[in-house]
């Protein structure tokens, strides 16, 4: 026991005092470098063409990083698992898409407003559903997705199950993906930055307390319900924006693209894989899961087998990283400093 304590002190000591200049440089340099590379990447496509596949994959990663990071605000920090976060995705896509179809206003302009409306929707839903907790809450989020699906499936204005076609962006194929790329990149950076700010704020401390023991948190003087509703709302903001952009990117809106329950669960899986409750975890989880899935599909084809292999990999990772990749490495003090954002 004594040995353990002293070794723990040693670990603390090695971790905390004067962080060396190189590690500080790495901590800031690596994320900045990655961002610069991502920002410059489309130049390859502009100059040489032939990189559209990679642009598409990165767009896909950005989208899921945004969703997993946003989900983490309520699901990771506050511990309220929502399986229906793709509802914001659908709301964003349909709102902006309909405005585009009926009023010809570009989703690039309406996306921020759509995000805000998605956030309002989140606050409203949270106001009702966050009276419950545990499995009841989880089921209520699934019910929300089913409800919105039902609505969009049967609403003539949105084309029902047939969906709503939108005209394509007026750019040559070589450049068509680039505006979407930068837009989603910006939303992604904003969502991660928001997550970082919340993680290091008093609000974030309160949310994390809620995830551990709601009654104790209440006793400490935190208006837990208000906090949860707010976190739920904010988590809808960037997903709503991303939905607007994604809808325009696909040029087609259909409930089956945005609202299947398995999109909601994929978001959760990504966050858990990377480490829910950490800032960088959900982003890492999303990137890894998409990369693995793409690799498996490339090797095995889009058969049922790829799902089995992806599942196996997930099981293996979580067996050895029970708190997710970032979460477990952090708990063992093995996380590289450039991924330790709190």
């Amino acid at each position: 026991m004594i040995d353990k304590t002293s070794s723990e002190i040693a670990v603390q000591a090695s971790r905390h005092p004067h962080i060396s200049k190189t590690s500080l440089w790495l901590k800031k340099g690596v994320p900045t470098g990655a961002l610069v590379v991502l920002a410059l990447f489309p130049l390859l496509q502009i100059a040489f063409d032939g990189y559209n596949y990679w642009l598409h994959m990165l767009l896909y990663v950005f989208l899921y990083v945004i969703m997993a990071t946003s989900w983490n605000l309520i699901g990771g920090y506050a511990g309220y698992i929502s399986l229906g976060h793709n509802v914001f995705f659908g709301i964003g896509a349909y709102l902006s898409g309909m405005v585009f179809v009926f009023f010809q206003i570009s989703p690039f302009l309406t996306a921020p407003i759509t995000g805000l409306i998605a956030m309002l929707g989140g606050l409203l839903f949270g106001l009702i559903a966050l009276r419950t907790r545990g499995s009841t809450f989880i089921i209520s989020t699934i019910a929300l997705v089913l409800l919105v699906t039902e609505l969009l499936d049967n609403w003539k204005l949105t084309g029902g199950t047939n969906g709503l076609p939108m005209s394509m962006i007026t750019l040559e194929g070589q450049y068509a993906k680039i505006p979407y790329y930068y837009y989603l990149l910006v939303i992604m950076v904003l969502s991660i930055f928001t997550s970082y700010l919340i993680r290091h704020s008093k609000f974030g401390l309160g949310l994390r307390a809620i995830s551990q023991d709601e009654i104790k948190t209440e006793v400490a003087g935190i208006p837990t319900r208000r906090y949860k509703i707010l976190a739920f709302g904010i988590s809808g903001l960037f997903i709503g924006m991303a939905g607007a952009i994604w809808g325009s990117y696909l040029t087609y809106l259909r409930p089956s693209i945005f609202l299947p329950v398995n999109i909601g669960t994929t978001i959760v899986l990504m966050a858990i894989l990377g480490g829910k409750g950490t800032v960088s975890g959900p982003a890492i989880g999303a990137a890894i899961m998409i990369a693995v899935n793409e690799f498996v599909v490339a090797k095995l084809g889009a058969t049922e087998l790829n799902i089995v292999v992806t599942g196996l990999i997930l099981i293996l990772v979580l067996l050895y990283f029970p708190e997710g990749i970032v979460g477990t490495l952090k708990a063992k003090n093995l996380l590289p400093s450039f991924l330790d954002w709190g």
């Binding site: 304590t5 307390a209 551990q212 104790k216 006793v219 400490a220 003087g221 935190i222």
Partner: protein, 248 residues
């Protein structure tokens, strides 16, 4: 000034029976009270009612001349009454420092909270040493200390400790009572609920004996400590009911 008056409190849990059945008690500022009594006497229930965690069915609680029964727990906290529950109530997956910050959550001024935490670190260096460690990795005594320190972040006037020695080794119990002595020296009003009656009374000014949630029998702690009937009570032989004594 900071007198706490409990008047004819009746309280119980859910739709269950009354645990406190018309209890009255006066807590004077700056003194240390040790509440003892057999299991089920309502010791913990009393502090929970004062802390605002349990609404009394009848009766009222006055603090500084104002009623505080019916206030929420955080409102009671705002008035300067802190409660340290027997399960320590730390957030296990937060560091010691974060737990202390949770203690000062209701204060708007976060630099004040940081300042007070620094003061606490000076007073209890072990907490400074462990500040980045998860609370769940601390020993029982360190957890109890963190729990008390967390209440101190609010600079309360009245602190209620529910069985601080619960589940601790004798040597650690000694340390905890040492901590309580420091709080006494700072002039805090302390309400101590203890199973370890001897230790508790030795460290208190006044002894309060609770029996079946009805009567409180209050004497200077030294007297209670040497009262043969109290010792009898704790041996489990209750030959004479205390009601008669309290009624006088």
């Amino acid at each position: 000034m900071g007198t706490l008056v409990v008047e004819n409190i009746v309280a119980g849990y859910g739709s269950g029976p009354n645990i406190l059945r018309g209890l009255s008690l006066t807590i004077e500022a700056g003194k240390t009270y040790c509440i003892i009594g057999p299991n089920g006497a309502g010791k913990s229930t009393l502090v929970k009612v004062i802390a605002g965690l349990l609404k009394p069915r009848e009766g009222r609680i006055m603090y500084k001349g104002e009623p505080i029964n019916g206030l929420r727990a955080d409102q009671v906290l705002q008035r300067g009454i802190c409660y340290v529950p027997s399960d320590r109530s730390l957030f296990p997956d937060m560091t010691v420092k974060e737990n202390l910050r949770m203690g000062g959550y209701i204060l708007r001024n976060s630099s004040l909270v940081e300042k007070r935490i620094e003061q606490i670190f000076i007073q209890f260096p072990i907490l400074k040493e462990k500040r980045s460690q998860m609370a769940k990795t601390l020993s029982g005594g360190q957890q109890q200390l963190t729990s008390i320190a967390r209440a101190m972040v609010l600079k309360p006037e009245l602190i209620m400790l529910d069985e601080p020695s619960l589940g601790l080794a004798p040597k650690v119990v000694q340390q905890i009572f040492g901590t309580i002595a420091i709080l006494r020296d700072q002039g805090l009003t302390i309400l101590l609920v203890e199973q370890n009656a001897r230790k508790g009374l030795e460290n208190a000014d006044q002894g309060v004996v609770l029996d079946l949630g009805m009567n409180s029998f209050e004497r200077p702690a030294v007297e209670v400590l040497h009262d043969p009937r109290i010792q009898e009570l704790y041996l489990g032989k209750r030959s004479r009911p205390l009601q008669a004594e309290a009624a006088q």
